[in-house]
């Protein structure tokens, strides 16, 4: 039995190597493969090293789970990647919770209860079940919101925070009860499961669509922590190391996303931005909006030398990633400088826009992040904003009353002309009016991003 830990450490080393190689697009694919090999080693070592396994069940589980996972992975649209990751997170968390439950069943089920399980066993089991279950239900709510099954708007009601606080207190109470009061252990444990499940729902439901990158990163971290907790239950190094790696990765991403919005994690989780600011000072201001046709827009682009595209969630919704690449390629063919500006929280998950544009064959060296691209707007002729809103709102720089004040934004307004494509005049997800639309150098082209871009390309070619 002892040698098996050697294989787990090997797997963990391969995970670390794999993650390291993920830091460059050239090596990333092999990094993912190395991590997958690590996983295979861990699985085979477990199958060989542990006695009394039920192979019939394991094979059924592999086939069913493998088929579902593979079908998901092959079929999913790149635009739907956020909900895909959310749901996989959920299954990972769920698996860890189930491991904890099964362990509780062996160690504490009335039939098996000759000796009282140790405090260590019970504490770690309760922790893994709590984090795992919370991840499971929270991820499914996030999935529902992203997929449109549940409204993407924050769901808030009076006393919501009080309710969450009561739930959390009850949860702590029952958790302590499970560990310390053997007589009612079963019932207390059941209460822990149910309360964790409810808390996962109530914590994610008030979070709006634009804040989803933070939530998904956080759930990613939780799924790692849940796996590590299951590792503590089973005294298994492999689970502990891998879980810690994933937990760290999720926390780093969460932090980057929060910085991208200039908000604290507590503010994202409890802030429910998007409702309370209705009718803020800026909303009453009259804006003078200039609506242009695609023909006029084509003429402006034709005269430009440097064009920067700024994609946002609207681009993903319209599936316009190929259309934008075609326009960009055409302009590049005409000798113009073309690049893409990617805000860290554009879209619904970290790196969402990068994946979409990669799918459309946009080379990754054309994708510039915030710090890299902001100086470029100064001598840019046309900035083309496609379905992005809050991340280009200049109010974030100067309007202290704006809910997004202080958020780092893409300075598109510094470009000579800002060409903004939107479906309608509705404010963005956060419900904040955007003064950029009324600027002297702003012009609007209304319509679905994909159709507008396709029409624009036609008009460009006819010039």
């Amino acid at each position: 039995m002892e040698y098996i830990n050697l294989f787990y450490v090997t797997a963990a080393v391969l995970f670390i190597f794999g993650l390291k190689r993920l830091s460059h697009p050239r090596t990333a694919r092999s990094g993912n493969l190395i991590a997958a090999i690590g996983m295979l080693i861990a699985i085979v070592a477990t199958l060989v090293g542990y006695a009394h396994l039920d192979f019939r069940l394991i094979i059924i589980g592999f086939i069913v789970g493998g088929l579902i996972g593979a079908i998901f992975a092959v079929k999913v649209e790149m635009t739907a990647m956020p909900q895909m990751v959310a749901i996989f997170n959920g299954f990972g968390g769920g698996a860890s919770a189930l491991v904890g439950m099964a362990e509780f069943y062996t160690k504490a089920a009335p039939a098996a209860l000759q000796a009282h399980p140790s405090y260590y066993d019970l504490t770690t089991i309760v922790l893994s079940v709590f984090v795992g279950t919370l991840t499971f239900t929270g991820s499914f709510v996030a999935f529902g919101k992203l997929q449109g099954f549940i409204t993407g708007k924050p769901v808030v009601f009076a006393g919501q925070k009080t309710l969450n606080a009561i739930l959390a207190l009850l949860l702590v109470g029952f958790a302590v009860g499970t560990v310390l009061v053997p007589a009612n252990m079963m019932w207390y444990f059941l209460a822990v499961i149910i309360l964790s499940a409810i808390l996962g729902v109530t914590l994610v439901i008030p979070i709006g669509g634009a804040d989803m990158p933070v939530v998904i990163s956080l759930l990613n971290a939780y799924s790692g922590i849940a796996a590590a907790a299951a590792g503590f239950v089973l005294l298994n190094n492999g689970l502990i190391i891998s879980g810690a790696l994933v937990g760290a990765s999720g926390l780093i991403l969460t932090n980057i996303m929060c910085k991208g919005m200039n908000r604290s994690l507590t503010n994202v989780i409890f802030g429910a931005v998007g409702l309370e600011q209705e009718g803020a000072a800026g909303a009453q201001k009259q804006m003078n909006i200039k609506s242009y046709s695609t023909e006029e827009a084509a003429m402006i682009l034709d005269a430009a030398e440097k064009v920067i595209f700024v994609p946002g969630y609207g681009l993903a919704v319209a599936q316009a990633q190929h259309a934008v690449r075609e326009v960009a390629d055409y302009l590049e063919g005409k000798g113009k400088t073309v690049m893409y500006a990617i805000h860290p929280v554009a879209g619904r998950m970290p790196g969402h826009m990068n994946v979409l544009l990669a799918e459309a064959n946009v080379p990754y060296n054309q994708l510039k992040d915030l710090d890299e691209v902001n100086p470029e707007f100064e001598d840019c002729d046309v900035a083309v904003v496609l379905g992005a809103n809050d991340v280009v709102n200049p109010a974030a720089r100067h309007d202290k009353s704006s809910p997004i004040y202080g958020m780092p934004i893409l300075n598109v307004d510094k470009a000579r002309t800002v060409l903004i494509n939107k479906r309608t005049m509705n404010p963005g997800f956060a419900g904040i009016p955007n003064e950029l639309f009324g600027y002297d150098n702003s012009i609007m082209v209304f319509g679905d991003a994909k159709q507008t871009l396709q029409q624009l390309l036609k008009d460009l070619k006819e010039l």
Binding site: T46, G65, A70, L98, N354, D369
Partner: protein, 90 residues
């Protein structure tokens, strides 16, 4: 393995994680997330071990755990590979 040992491993692994992942560029954040997500499917090891739990309820828990974890592992690595295949330079 005692508690202190296992805690040491856990804490050191977190530091390693921070060191390795801070270097990932924003372009690769989505694949990083789905790739690390697949790694969190390591709970498949726990799920496999859980199948030895005797009795009907324990058996069902083990089976569902294996299914969930396998979805996570297989789906996670495959979808990450599919994404990374698309990243090209010019």
């Amino acid at each position: 393995m005692d508690m202190i040992n296992i805690l040491t491993v856990f804490i050191l692994a977190i530091f390693v994680g921070f060191e390795v992942i801070t270097k990932v560029p924003p372009t690769l954040h989505t694949p990083l997330m789905s790739g690390s997500n697949a790694i969190s499917g390591i709970s498949i090891v726990g799920a496999i071990i859980a199948t030895h739990v005797s009795g009907t309820l324990g058996t069902w828990l083990g089976l569902i755990a294996v299914i969930f974890a396998t979805i996570n592992v297989v789906g996670g690595f495959m979808v990450t590979d599919r994404m990374l295949k698309m990243f090209k330079r010019r």
